[in-house]
């Protein structure tokens, strides 16, 4: 049968973000998916070099609107390590509570989107309704629904009082009950199972070879979770389990995420009940000594890396961001191969893509030997590049 090429995107109904997938298909079967990314590239890494660390916290939050807290946490964590600063434990606990609240809101959002992609809109409406409980809690403590601005170099900016603690615990109880219902749906509802079982298969060895991260890797049986492997914030003091599943398909990734929700409730309850007394932050110097560091955390989508190079001033010399979505792109291409066209949305959604996170630029082939480009050169490069492409 002849090969046909189908272009999808950048604007398309399945995903909310711009990405272009060109599919070579034979009948209904995908032979080769080609991904074109970069529609969201704004030049954040370069912008970070022109701003101080304190300003960068707020810029890092705007790398991604879903996992905003984890981005700022990773940056702040790196800066704190460069300063060799000891953070008050209360600050770390509050940071951890926010990291987990964010994971809950991200996973609930994902469950809704995944249900929507398989045509199960009732579940979509249910999860998004319950997600409002978390959003209310986040707003109660931080004052904003998406960009919380909780972090600062040296700790957190806002404290949690007793009334907020009570509301947090109450909210977790309500969500736990709802999530148990979702576990039941995700594992027994036949309409859902028919669409996710045996779809988007990623074998354990392949996942390892292609460097999959986060729930995509854990759904293929790889036990990798930075919260366990190299604990940051307060994760070394809080008991929880790293969830894995050996199913290796979309079902496995669903199970991992839903069970991680239950773990997140446990973590928050423990952290709230055992919240240490004392200060929430320490005063930090503005100027950060010359050094370099790789700071990493477990974002809701997988491991998030920040490489920070400081030069003794208030501004970093280089910040490199590697987001989990980019790491999962090769495995997603592998999952799509040999699948059906109808399964594209759910397979793609199963890795929880966050295109806004992922669009970075790397120059591989350079004619001149300059090690870096300045702002103006990059602007000219961009203008030239897209004029040729148009």
């Amino acid at each position: 049968m002849a090969e046909i090429t189908i272009p999808i995107g950048p604007q398309h109904p399945a995903l909310k973000e711009p990405i272009n997938i060109t599919l070579k298909v034979e009948g209904e079967v995908i032979v080769e998916p080609i991904l074109r990314i970069g529609y969201n590239h704004r030049g954040i890494e370069k912008a970070m070099e022109a701003r101080s660390y304190i300003q960068n916290i707020y810029l890092a939050e705007r790398v991604c609107g879903i996992c905003s807290h984890v981005h700022s946490s990773t940056l702040v964590q790196g800066a704190e390590e460069l300063l060799e600063l000891e953070i008050p434990r209360r600050g770390l606990y509050i940071r951890t509570i926010f990291l987990e609240l964010e994971r809950i809101h991200s996973h609930l959002l994902w469950l809704g989107v995944a249900a929507h992609e398989v045509g199960f809109d009732t579940l979509f409406m249910y999860t998004w309704r319950d997600r409002e409980i978390v959003m209310d809690l986040l707003e109660l403590i931080s004052g904003n629904r998406v960009n919380y601005a909780m972090n600062t170099v040296g700790g957190t900016r806002r404290d949690i009082n007793d009334e907020q603690k009570k509301k947090l615990l109450k909210g977790m109880d309500a969500l736990e009950e709802r999530t148990k219902y979702y576990v039941k749906i995700a594992t027994t509802e036949p309409t859902f199972l028919k669409r996710v079982e045996g779809v988007g298969i990623l074998k354990k060895e392949v996942a390892k070879k292609l460097c999959a991260v986060g729930p995509t890797a854990r759904g293929s049986g790889l036990r990798m979770d930075i919260r366990k492997d190299d604990p940051y914030a307060a994760y070394d003091e809080i008991p929880f389990e790293a969830i894995t599943s050996d199913l290796c398909d979309v079902m496995g990734r669903t199970v991992v995420r839903v069970k991680e929700l239950l773990e997140a409730y446990k973590i928050i309850k423990y952290a709230v009940n055992n919240l240490p007394a004392g200060e929430i932050r320490k005063k930090a110097r503005r100027k950060i000594p010359e050094n370099e560091i790789l700071s990493y955390t477990e974002a809701p989508r997988g491991e998030l890396l920040y490489y920070i190079k400081s030069n003794g001033t208030e501004k970093p010399e280089r910040v490199k961001i590697r987001t989990p979505t980019l790491a999962n792109i090769p495995s997603t291409i592998e999952m799509l191969k040999g699948g059906y066209i109808a399964d594209i949305p759910i397979v793609f959604a199963a890795m929880d893509p966050c295109i806004a996170c992922m669009d970075r630029v790397i120059l591989v082939d350079k004619k001149n030997n300059e090690r870096s480009m300045n702002w103006e050169a990059l602007r000219r490069y961009g203008i030239k590049w897209y004029e040729v492409k148009r």
């Binding site: 109904p13 973000e17 954040i44 609107g65 409406m125 309704r129 602007r379 961009g382």
Partner: protein, 173 residues
């Protein structure tokens, strides 16, 4: 008479198409959240549509990046008349924190005319709904009265409306 009927149908079911021009996902999620049970934009007859050809209102989020602007322009051209553009979020209004970045052109209005600006990073779903109501207020005196009353109480004053009459009152060809 026919105009009245058309106007009535436009007020009761403005379909929207969501367009991400390089946003960070924050506004996009809030746009979707405004369609879910808590906020329920559907009670105004608003439905989210996959294709711009079915849409009356383009809800654009995010700063305009160099790579996407030609596509965004094409999507705007594909939307049938009369069309409205709602810029959601600070980035869509002016470029926000990304203003001046080497790959960012600026706000949505660098590429297409914008009717309503909803600022905020990200704006709450309530603010997005208020922006839509302001858009509809030029078509329906009842909604206009409601918006006026809310504004008197001090709500939504920073949501700017621009050039609605050029689009809204355009006669059928």
């Amino acid at each position: 008479m026919l105009d009245k009927l058309i106007n009535w149908s436009r007020v009761k079911s403005p379909w929207i198409c969501h367009l991400n021009t390089g946003g960070c996902n924050g506004c996009d999620i809030e746009v979707v959240a405004s369609l879910t049970p808590r906020f329920d934009l559907e009670r105004f007859g608003i439905l989210i549509k996959g294709t711009p050809r079915h849409a009356d209102v383009l809800v654009a989020t995010g700063a305009m990046t160099r790579q996407i602007w030609t596509r965004a322009r094409r999507i705007y051209d594909q939307t049938p008349e009369p069309k409205f553009v709602l810029a959601v979020g600070s980035c869509a209004c002016s470029g926000g924190v990304f203003r001046g970045c080497y790959n960012v052109l600026g706000g949505i209005d660098t590429v297409m005319p914008v009717n309503v600006y909803v600022p905020g990073c990200p704006p709450r779903p309530d603010a997005i709904i208020f922006g839509v109501l302001k858009l509809l207020s030029s078509l329906d005196p009842k909604i206009a009265k409601l918006v006026e009353e809310l504004e008197r109480k001090g709500y939504g004053k920073d949501i700017e409306v621009k050039g609605l009459t050029d689009h809204g009152s355009r006669k059928r060809d």
